[in-house]
């Protein structure tokens, strides 16, 4: 699936998007896999309460299932308007 990062999550991880091969069943499991990769992922996902997630471009919870999902995005709380 495609994993996207925005704002300071993008800056900490150092890229806007990447292709991830995963068998994670939920967003939370995907986060655990990513954190295990490298310190910069560990840093970006250290405080999950400071993050929001979208699954296939819809806001979702961290326990959302990933079955059939094509795109997951991580970002800080939005500041539009």
């Amino acid at each position: 699936m495609d994993v996207l990062y925005f704002a300071w999550v993008r800056e900490r991880i150092g890229k806007p998007r990447e292709r991830v091969e995963t068998t994670a069943a939920t967003v939370m499991e995907l986060v655990a896999e990513l954190k295990a990769r490298e310190p910069r992922y560990e840093a970006a996902f250290a405080d999950i309460s400071a993050l929001r997630v979208a699954v296939d471009q819809e806001l979702a919870d961290f326990d959302a299932p990933l079955d059939g999902v094509r795109e997951v995005a991580f970002f800080p709380p939005m500041t539009g308007g």
């Binding site: 500041t79 539009g80 308007g81």
Partner: protein, 150 residues
């Protein structure tokens, strides 16, 4: 319903006129516009807004559709910029039109409350000589949403 996400400068008054001229049944029109303001020290060089192409328009459209379901609106306009903005430029606007002012006002406030916290935009303020700071989401903006869930 007209939803636009743009990287270009736009003129709030011209858009408000276009919106207003297109109406036939509404006696009440409300607009909101957000403008880039300098900080207290006067050092703001620019604002940068990042967004999530694809999701952004979808989220704005869904918020506008919800407003149309809740209030009797003849039309809704949402324009939101992304990219680099200078002090004094318009960041975004909404406009709502209805027979009655209560619907137009409430729908505009609803759009703003949702757009602030549920549309995928992130603001960064870049001051002279720094690399920029991401604007923190405000608790008061999150709290504002509770008004619409009772």
């Amino acid at each position: 319903m007209d939803i636009r996400v743009t990287g270009e400068v736009f003129d709030f008054a011209e858009q408000a006129r276009g919106f207003s001229d297109g109406l036939t049944a509404s006696g009440a029109v409300v607009t909101f516009s957000g403008i880039v303001r300098n900080n207290a020290a006067g050092t703001l060089e620019r604002m940068e807004i990042e967004h999530y192409p694809g999701m952004t328009e979808k989220a704005l459209r869904s918020i506008a559709q919800e407003a149309c379901a809740r209030w009797a609106l003849e039309d809704v306009l949402v324009i939101h910029r992304h990219g680099v903005m200078r002090v004094g430029e318009t960041i975004m606007m909404v406009a709502t039109a209805s027979r009655h002012r209560k619907d137009a006002f409430e729908a505009a406030e609803f759009l703003m409350d949702y757009l602030k916290s549920r549309a995928p935009f992130w603001k960064k303020e870049v001051c002279q000589g720094d690399a920029g700071d991401w604007v923190d989401a405000r608790d008061v903006d999150e709290a504002a949403l509770s008004r619409w869930n009772s």
